[in-house]
């Protein structure tokens, strides 16, 4: 029987990490948007009795969905590891990779664990006082949307690494897209202040537009990580040419670096 090629492929661990990344983000989307329906977020202006109703309407979904995240949430580490690997592959100092790794590892706690915990605690005993449920509700959504500082700095670190990189691991436009993503973190900050309107945690600006930017950004880096793995030569110099010819066709020869 033929030995499957994948077993000897030196890139197999990279592919494993990449598929795990895709798996994680898919799980995340399904759990938050479909099973638990915590995204789009609940309304910040709900009074305690409305919050009780919100929890009641999602009781089973919250418990099942977030149980899945508690079990499988560790997959988020693969995404982080792959991105850190990509920064290590760049010509810049390893300090960039390590800072990014530390920041985003820490960010997982407010990034999604707080909301999972608070919501599960809230759903677990529906007979809790409404005021307490509202407290959990606020903690969940504020921590999810409002703790953007780590992501802001993390995006800037990745951006700087990409722009300084001489190994062409990522195209420069993705470096600039990191800036766009970082700026969305700034835009979300007012959600701590407003209970309603475009800048509340469910607002047109602080949530809807931000989520679109974040989704495009995530899609872009998942695609680019795949491109990096395809091009990887396990060396320390420039990675062989970028696949995409989209923008190369409109740049005359002399402008190519």
């Amino acid at each position: 029987m033929m030995r499957p090629a994948i077993l000897d492929d030196p890139k197999r661990e990279l592919w494993l990490a990449w598929y795990a990344t895709v798996g994680f983000y898919s799980l995340y989307t399904v759990v938050f948007f479909i099973i638990t329906r915590t995204q789009p977020p609940g309304k910040p202006w709900y009074d305690p009795s409305q919050v009780v109703g919100w929890f009641a309407g999602r009781h089973d979904g919250l418990l099942i969905g977030f149980a899945l995240i508690f079990v499988l949430g560790g997959l988020s580490a693969t995404s982080l590891a792959l991105i850190t690997y990509s920064i290590r592959r760049m010509s810049v100092s390893r300090a960039f990779a390590y800072s990014y790794l530390i920041l985003y590892a820490v960010a997982a706690v407010p990034g999604f664990l707080f909301i999972c915990t608070a919501m599960t605690v809230g759903a677990m005993r529906p007979e809790r006082s409404p005021a307490l449920l509202q407290w959990l509700y606020d903690l969940a959504f504020l921590s999810f949307s409002g703790t953007m500082g780590v992501f802001l700095i993390g995006s800037l670190i990745w951006m700087t690494a990409i722009l300084l990189d001489k190994n062409h691991v990522f195209p420069k436009w993705f470096g600039y897209l990191n800036l766009c993503n970082a700026l969305t973190e700034v835009v979300v900050a007012p959600s701590w202040i407003f209970h309603e309107g475009a800048l509340a945690w469910n607002g047109a600006i602080a949530w809807w537009i931000n989520v679109v930017v974040f989704a495009l950004y995530t899609g872009a880096f998942i695609y680019l990580l795949r491109s990096m793995i395809l091009r990887e030569d396990f060396g320390t110099g420039p990675l062989p040419g970028l696949d995409s010819k989209v923008w190369r066709t409109i740049v005359p020869v002399e402008a190519t670096v």
């Binding site: 600039y176 007012p190 309107g197 679109v212 040419g241 923008w247 740049v251 402008a255």
Partner: protein, 193 residues
Amino acid sequence: MTTTQEPLVVVREQGTRHIPGQPDMWVFVFFESLVFTAYFCVYLYSRTQHERAFLHGQSQLLAWLGVLDTVVLLTSSWTMARCVQHARAGRYAPARRDAFLTAGLGFVFLVLKIVEWVRLIHLGHTFTSSEFFQYYFFLTAIHCVHLLIGFVVLGVLVWKLSASQEIVETCATYWHTVDFFWVLIFALLYVVR
């Protein structure tokens, strides 16, 4: 690394058409323009739903101050464009002078903005005092964040001035974007009824 490809365009007498700066920065320009347009649409929609309140808030603004802000930033774009032309011709001293002028005008804009914010706050209009001012402070503040980033970008430009015309043009593209965002913000906050 370089591949011979047919340029997609006709060669003009004066020289080949070329994309100003890295094409990548243009990706940023297009993307961020869409994000800002989305913000503007949210603002405009809110405006139509709360006409009177927005008109009242807007009447507290000084249109001439907005015009002054715009002229300052347009002038900074002018000096930026001149800087790029000088750098392209190898005249690095005038280019450097124009780059510093651009930064100086950006700084003037920042000061004018702060003066305006302080004036409005003293009149009792803050980020949370009304829906109009929520949008006003949000749009002007996020624009100022872009402007502050612009100063960093200008620093990169001066650093790479004699080394890479592509980087000079890339940085200029970013600065002009900050300028045309303001052109739109000014029209929407100060003039639109």
